[in-house]
Amino acid sequence: MGAVTALALLIPAIVAALVAIFGWRPFTAWLAPVSGLVIIGVGVVLAVHVLDVGPLAAFGGQLRVDALSALMIILIGAVATITTTYAVAYLRTELATGATTPKRARIYGVLVQLTIAAMLVVVTADNLGVVWVAVETTTVATVLLVGHRRDRNSVEASWKYLVLGSIGIATALMGTVLVYFVSRHSGGDPSNALNWSSLVERAPRLDPDALRVSIGLVVLGYGTKAGLAPVHSWLPDVYSQAPAPVAALMAGVVSAMSMYALLRFKVVADLALGAGFVRSLLVAAALFSLVAAASLMVTQRDYKRLLAYSSVEHMGLIALAAAIGSPLAMSAALLHMIGNGLAKSVAFSATGEILFLTGTTRIDGVRGLLRRQPFVGGVFALSLVALLGLPPFSLLASEVAIVRAGLSEGLGWVIAIAITVMLVIFTAVVVHALDMLTGGEVPPVSAPDVHITSLTGRAPFVVGLVAAAAIGVSIWPIERLLHAAALVVAR
């Protein structure tokens, strides 16, 4: 089993090396989706193993895969497959229109694989310091990916992303170091003081006051990386300027990694400090995120930023579910992460196509999308339907579960505010989407009329939506895994 986890980590690294050596050629381009599928396979194998036998340690105790990690590996694999498959078509169009050079495409391929490798380390590492290093690596890799287009706006976006990201991640490091300090001074073997498994054992013996400061820093640090308000300001700029597949990858799963790390720390904090502290922080962050997202979506003019704020909203919802903390809320949070990952990656990839079609990211520059390009318009519409939490997609099930969990845990007023704000967001998104999808006169097309007709080009969109709908209709395939993962992080 250890070999299997090692395989999961090595595959993206090997693909990165191959792309580095041979450049972005047809056969190397298709390696990335294959590696995504292999990751899903590894995730499933590990999940089956973990559900039967229980968490497994590998690589000399450094790596530890439990139900939550297996679920996350599957999510990473799924989103990676979707985004890298679309990336093949995306880069082919960009190379065709001269928007990017083969050298930059090569760097792109390498960096995406490095990000995926780093994410796999995040979810499998047992040492929280290694988790931090892996999250930092994803930041560094994605900063360069955001700068892929090399125009004024993407430079500005990368600068803001790196500066704000560095401060956020440094805060998290400070928190991690203090947690390490507190756990070393609570007796027990100092060598694995920072390992999550040992931290959970010694949690009751940790000194509450000292731990509270460190957990506060950790929540703020990883909150910044996850895009929770009020430290979310980098997110809209980055998601709107990054190339569509990169934005899809980041919105789908990179922000989920920070939330994963946050959940790991929350387990320790809840055992040591009781649920109250982290719950209040997360509830505040969730409400901030929802209100900020709603306020900024109402009169939004850019559809990529609209989706970015939808990410802030969904991260807020996941934080709310985590704040509630009961097993039902936790499984809802994880299900929401998966649903959001799938729907968001399809949505952002669709914006890539819309950008090629209309040449503008402004909402009022796009009219009659369903008529002009039925496939892209349809996919974009369906992904928005999923993000709005309408049936048959899984986000509806998770949102209902969050509401029920919140009510049963006595957080009625928070749920009430959340629902009203989400109503505002619902109307805002519907209004903007209808402008784009229907609408009368069609502005002149400035960009060349290049759009994906090949089956492989369309496959990722369809697969992503079908997966989200399938989970929405019946969560049978991942139900046991989801439940086990929820128990890992639930109170």
Binding site: K160, L164, V213, L217, L220, S233, S295, L296, T299
Partner: protein, 200 residues
């Protein structure tokens, strides 16, 4: 085009004649919500409907058949006594003005005009009447245009102000994300300070 209308009215009539068809599923739905269900509100033995709360009975089926029977009876009486054939196509009574044009018919606006005048302080209709007099003398009217427009109270008093507030709120909220990195860093710094103070 009328297919839709006919279908819907058909459903209404069907429901009127046999409301109990829906009674049972509705009742099952209400039992889910605790506190509302108080047994079966409508009980029926096929023809008669019995409301559980008050001791009142109704039988839409019988009423409809009774109506039909009476109509057929009246028709029979009228047809039996008819002496000569019906003549059709004679001009309607125009009070001496024989040429009846479609423009003289009542339109929806004119049909509703009396009712609107009764409820005018609720509806606040905007009425504008413009009269074209004959060029020769002001006494003779060539054409009268009567336009009446009632604004939808809800839309005018509730939805539009609400949308205006939302738009103002949205524009105001733009300042949060005005692009200056120093503003974003200020957010991070203050949040860091607040978190440190909170978790002391």
């Amino acid at each position: 085009m009328q297919a839709g209308l006919v279908a819907l009215s058909g459903v209404c009539v069907a429901l009127a004649l046999a409301p109990t068809v829906l009674a049972e599923p509705l009742e099952r739905a209400t039992t889910v919500v605790s506190g509302i269900a108080d047994g079966a509100p409508i009980t029926t033995d096929g023809v008669y409907l019995q409301l559980s709360g008050i001791q009142a009975g109704l039988s839409p089926l019988l009423l409809a058949t009774g109506l039909a029977v009476m109509m057929i009876a009246a028709l029979a009486v009228v047809r039996r006594s008819r002496v000569r054939r019906t003549t059709r196509g004679i001009p309607a009574w125009g009070c001496g003005r024989t040429v009846q044009t479609a423009r003289m018919e009542y339109t929806a606006t004119s049909f509703a005009e009396p009712l609107q005048r009764v409820f005018d302080d609720v509806l606040h209709p905007e009425i504008d009447v413009d009269v074209d007099h004959h060029t020769e003398s002001r006494h003779y009217v060539q054409a009268i245009r009567y336009r009446l427009h009632t604004r939808d109270a809800f839309e005018h008093r509730l939805y539009l102000p609400l949308l205006a507030v939302a738009r103002r709120w949205g524009d105001g909220a733009r300042r949060i994300q005005n692009g200056s990195i120093h503003r974003y860093l200020a957010y991070s710094l203050f949040t860091l300070i607040i978190v440190l103070l909170v978790s002391r």
